[in-house]
Symmetry: C2
């Protein structure tokens, strides 16, 4: 099993260099994410989900792999731009800015703020900047309120809106609270994690062993929607949360959720994980449902590595090999670096972009870095600090 | 050329019966659009773009094909529901309602109102209801303001938002104003059509002979975006507008736009019209860009029929045959009626729904009815009144 070596090479020789070489905007700050296969910019806007995610990613590499100045510099270039231009007067984050930083589009969702928060916190860990850490934590509580009251983000509260919780909201609360709990022993963050673990049960389909996208009625398409990538990512987020709430039964359930999602989400005819499925086999509303996207596969790779590191059971190695083989043969681009993002059901690339308004420097390097950490920890070689 | 007979059979034996049999909600009003291949309801929400479109469609059948009571009844069932539940206190239209009529989602766009307006106007033509006609016309002027000032719909005016006009806005203004101008000689509607014809020039790419989705800079992906279906539909909307502004040079340009869109938008490898393309071959942002959807093909069929009826040139018959063959072999469902909506690039169905939140009783029957009218007009048989 030479995964660790391969992942390290992919990360350090092909993925991170692609972003450092092509994406940073030294003139106006921030980074470009709309890059062609070769790394040419085809849209100069700055998409804020991805600005925050890259701050987090470069800071994490600096904190956990090695303290390279160029990684911290890249994080700072993006963070400064994000903090200078990303927010409106009420502290809500835009979805996109022009290259220069003028607000371009506002989405009535909390996720741009989530990734800004995670980026600030990780950068603060790197630099020891207590004021920035406090700013991140203050934003965490704001986001929690926005999730409870979406009207604060401008989304009208309508009497007939489906009454469902979104798995995505549990996921972002769990990931943020886990990161804070690692540096702050205040019990309130552990309480949020308890809430997330409990709330996730309403999304869990025991028969199929998967997390559903929305809790509640199965009469609406949303209530039948299963996103293998989200289900798997939610499971590993919650496994991380168990650091603070050890619970063997819950651990078994979360491992089951990874396996169940792989089994139900895998296309037995053409291989790969579907983007969306209706669990009753009815038509899903998103047109791109049967496509194969890069990120469910990165989540599945890390989740199987994590599951193997926790259990040492062979079944995880079988899934790891299957997903790794599909992902590297369809998405990795040894010639130009970073990964392609989008295949049709049969596995043909539908476009060759390396990034766009939702794909940036995040899922691929995060998977590689975290898998590397787990794999090195297991084989006895130096675990990244 | 037995297109007319085939289209009449498709319309009256397979398309309209599908909707009449499966979609009408006799209990709460309105109609369901989320129907499986066989006509089972998989989402009971009422999507308002489609409610308005069906009112228009059933009224148009009644007005132009024959005055069947069941068509007018269907239109009334949907219109009553739409008028009772569709609007907020400021007269803005929701995107979706629950089955019972509670507001479910609000979209910051004017299009739900556009189709409500068209439906009311056509129903008023059928019944001679002057108050309803006035209500429709009043709504037309509201929509025009909303298009000029999207902030009135709750979309914040941001300093960095791309300064572009949307082809869709020209299209809806042209289609509404044409319908009004046919029953109201007030010169203001003809002035709107003059504005539309002039504004369309900023979208016209003379080299490729296509209408671009957005006017303005080609630096952003939106500025390079070409939707063959919209380009073709815009061309035939504007050809209709020429009823009120005869202009041979403009007619030639619009015919060129139909031909250019077919040539540039046609997939020479797998057949069919792409959904979206970047004219410079860069990656388009919508994930579903290279899919083949039913409606660009319905627009192309009617546009080629219209072009042939205006010119009697053989080139249009060649395109009609090619598009008709692709559309009927991929989308039509002789077994259960109505058409499938979504294929991947290779032409495989990606789901088998007959309707969803954006597909209802509209594009297929509109194409069949209008093509029939043109074809019958040409062959000398009784033209529908």
């Amino acid at each position: 099993m030479n995964y660790a070596e391969r992942y390290r090479t992919e990360l350090l020789d092909r993925v991170i260099p692609f972003w450092l070489r092509h994406s940073l905007d030294r003139e106006h700050g921030g980074y470009f994410t709309c890059l062609t296969r070769e790394g040419n910019v085809y849209d100069t806007r700055k998409y804020l989900w991805l600005q925050g995610r890259a701050v987090w990613m470069f800071s994490k590499l600096y904190n956990e792999l090695e303290p390279r100045a160029e990684w911290l510099d890249a994080a700072r270039l993006i963070l400064d731009f994000l903090r200078r231009h990303g927010r409106d007067s009420e502290g809500r984050y835009y979805f996109s800015l022009t290259r220069q930083g003028e607000p371009s589009f506002y989405q009535r969702k909390p996720y741009a703020a989530v990734f800004a928060m995670l980026g600030m916190l990780e950068f603060a860990k790197a630099t020891g900047d207590a004021a920035l850490r406090d700013e991140a934590i203050e934003l965490f509580w704001k986001i929690r309120r926005w999730i409870e009251e979406p009207a604060l983000l401008g989304r009208p509260a309508l009497s007939g809106a489906p009454r469902m919780t979104a798995l995505a909201d549990i996921m972002v609360l769990a990931s943020m609270a886990t990161e804070i709990a690692r540096i702050d022993s205040d019990p309130r963050y552990r309480d949020v994690l308890t809430w997330c673990l409990t709330a996730s049960r309403a999304h869990y389909d025991e028969d199929r062993r998967i997390f559903m996208e929305y809790s509640g009625t199965r009469e609406l398409p949303e209530g039948r929607l299963f996103c293998p990538g989200d289900s798997i990512e939610a499971a590993w987020f919650l496994l991380h949360a168990l650091e603070f709430h050890p619970d063997d039964a819950m651990q078994r359930t979360l491992l089951d959720a990874i396996e169940g999602s792989l089994e139900f989400g895998w296309d037995r005819e053409h291989g790969g994980l579907y983007y969306f499925m209706d669990v009753d086999g009815l038509p899903p509303l998103p047109l791109e449902s049967n496509m194969k996207l890069w990120w469910p596969h990165t989540e599945a790779i890390y989740a199987t590595v994590l599951a193997y590191s926790l259990t040492r059971e062979d079944r995880w190695l079988k899934w790891l090999e299957r997903v790794d083989t599909y992902a590297f043969s369809h998405f990795s681009d040894p010639e130009h670096g970073e990964w392609f993002g989008y295949c049709d059901r049969q596995g043909n690339l539908t476009n060759t972009a390396k990034g766009n308004n939702y794909k940036g420097c995040f899922h691929v390097p995060r998977m590689l870095l975290m898998s590397l950490g787990r794999l090195n920890g297991m084989t006895g070689s130096a675990r990244p600090r």
